[in-house]
Amino acid sequence: MPSRVQLQGFGFRHLSRKAWAVRDIDLVIEAGERVLLLGPSGSGKSTLLSAIGGVLDEQSGDIAGRVLIDGEPPTPATGGHGSMPKSGIVFQDPDSQIVMSRCGDDVAFGLENAALPRDQIWPRVDAALARVKFGYPRDRSTHALSGGERQRLVLAGVIALRPGLLLLDEPTANLDPGGTDQVISTLRDICADRSATVIIVEHKISAALPLVDRIVVIDPDGGILADGRADEVLREQGPYLAARGVWIDDSIPYVPATKAKGTPSDPLLIAQAPQRRYRGSDLLLPAATDLTLSAGSISALVGPNGVGKSTLALMLAGLTKVEVGSVRATAALSTEHDRPLHKWRADYLANRITAVFQNPEHQFLTGSVREEVALNPSRVKAADQQSRADAIIERLNLGHLAEANPFTLSGGQKRRLSVATALARDPTVLILDEPTFGQDRTTWSELCKLFAEQRDDGRCLLMITHDELIVSALADQVITMASCNGLNPDYPDISGVTS
């Protein structure tokens, strides 16, 4: 039975913050409705979803108002209260949701918790796997799946429980276009029969639109910005919402004026088919790729997950050894251009080449946003450093969070912070892994502007991205990588650093 969701004056504030993450939300979602939840970066979409799912940690902040599922507070997920949660939640990162090492066992996990007898479990598992069009046998290892497959497995584990309420928090985050299509088409099938009320948070709006009836837009200043039938909201309030930073379509919100097309300048890094052995095997990754990164240019590295884009980026960034082939710095970049990059001293390297990784949390070193951005013992003088840091923080709409702990930021804010730290250091070559992930229209445009300014200042940028908008807005050079033979191209993209 689909559930009815009611929010009455709901609000939540993190313990360490003065401002509410989300507040004054009054909303009724009828049983069987399918709602797309939108809002600018940091407007509290994930927080709201967690509250509805009963997984919001009440210890971590103040709660105002009420959440009711079918007239009752959501079953809290923790503590032995003797009943199953009514809602099923799919979070962004499948790796933090898969429990078991075999796929079938993972889908069975929830059914075991629901105390289903053994002979009923396996038919339900097979049915759930079939609904997500999972093509492998039950005993397939959960480590041997692509991102899209892992997310569909998580979905199977959730729908096997037949929840009345399905909550999806950016289920296609970090998936390549192929994986996104897989997950969206699976969701379309699952949502079709209205056996569950569905609330989905998703930035890829054109992908999510066919899944929903209704759009609700959260106002970061409290309350609701827009609410109504999906097509009507977009038609009538589209421009207004776009101005507030909400993605309303897949058009490019901002294209920088100068695009240095066809004017090659000084090469800085020259890569000749650099490769590494894949996990100590004889297989070399990525497929042989030659590329030249020049001053005053932006390059984009695109291709499906698992082909070795990150591996290539790590070699270009001087972070891992090149085992076959070469990556050379030119004299324009460094006087030490005869030494391999991975042997450069860390601070020397970071002043010339800096990388921003996919998971921003790995890169945080301090306790506040301001310290994080100002922390760059670089060429810039100390006083300039702080003002430069403050300017970047302000431009990336993190000013109101300057004192906040980096780990308490929203996904999109964390991403901007990690990019800000790299921009503040002002390296000659900047390598960015998914720099626009989780951004709203406004912050996306600001990042785009900042990157264009860097290029105009003669810096060199390399983006690894699935974001086709940023590629068409900025890239002077697009390097498309395909899978190399012998390797399962679907294998999780953690290859480069495990050796």
Binding site: G82, M84, G88, Q97, A346, L349, F357, H362, N376
Partner: protein, 263 residues
């Protein structure tokens, strides 16, 4: 880490608890008896394990190198520094004095370690962690919280290893590196481990949340989707193991060479 090796091994068809009992029985026996004869008899009985494990030489290397290293260390230490001075002198160089008696003592200790470690290496390489957790819950009524929680933790090991690497590289790309200074290197290692601890806890929290949202530990008595059978061959193998251990100790006692840590 356990599991993952010897996928075609017949040992996989045993109940994982049988493996636990075998390892436990051999350990107890090696504690009771210090006589190399006991160890030798049991070791000979263990040899078939090597054949039925169906592990590749590479897998053996991965699993057994710490044991090999330990054996060499123990052999040398006992050879050179043990108090045994009887027997014929083999080697004398300053403080190092090796005789047939000290050689015998060293071989005796190494033999016991090898006997102890062999079944543990083979069985823990081959048994499947999921099967072990199921057996613990079904046969020994272990709490699911602990058994399933441990399984989830095992699944996260490779993810944490990759976190470790990413955190280290993140620091380097932000200009924080050790160069060749060992003190700085140690300090960075400590901070890197701290950061990995933070990211592991965050990962674990998210996983726990996802498990809870699927009804884990909700107070309902949980079922187990997979069967875990204790078969006649399990009872048989346990009986054989205990039999071999008893015989090995008996031979030692009858032969008059029995020594024990308890006397």
């Amino acid at each position: 880490m356990i599991g993952g090796y010897g996928e075609r091994s017949i040992l996989r068809q045993l109940n994982p608890l049988t493996a636990m009992v075998i390892v436990f029985a051999v350990t107890i026996t090696m504690f009771i008896s210090l006589d190399p004869r006991t160890a030798l008899i049991i070791l000979v009985a263990e040899l078939p394990l090597i054949a039925v494990a169906r592990m590749s030489p590479r897998q053996w290397l991965m699993r057994a190198w710490p044991l090999g290293l330990a054996l060499i260390g123990i052999l040398l230490a006992n050879l050179l520094f043990s108090g045994y001075t009887g027997g014929r002198e083999l080697f004398d160089l300053g403080p190092f004095h090796v005789t047939t008696a000290s050689l015998a003592a060293a071989i005796g200790v190494a033999l016991r370690i090898l006997t102890l470690a062999l079944p543990a290496i083979v069985l823990f390489a081959v048994i499947d962690p999921t099967d072990l957790a199921d057996a613990l819950v079904i046969q020994w009524h272990a709490p699911a919280r602990i058994a399933v929680g441990s399984l989830a933790a095992i699944r996260m090991v490779p993810l944490v290893m990759s976190d470790l690497q990413h955190v280290y590289l993140s620091r380097r790309t932000r200009g924080i590196g050790a160069g060749r200074n060992p003190v700085v290197m140690a300090a960075i290692l400590v901070r890197t481990l701290g950061a990995v601890l933070v990211s592991s806890i965050r990962r674990a929290t998210r996983l726990a949340l996802a498990m809870d949202s699927r009804g884990f530990d909700s107070g309902i008595a949980r079922t187990v989707a997979r069967e875990s059978m204790w078969r006649r061959r399990d009872s048989g193998l346990v009986a054989v193991t205990i039999g071999v251990c008893v015989i090995a100790v008996a031979v030692s006692i009858v032969g008059g060479t029995f020594r024990t840590i308890f006397g």
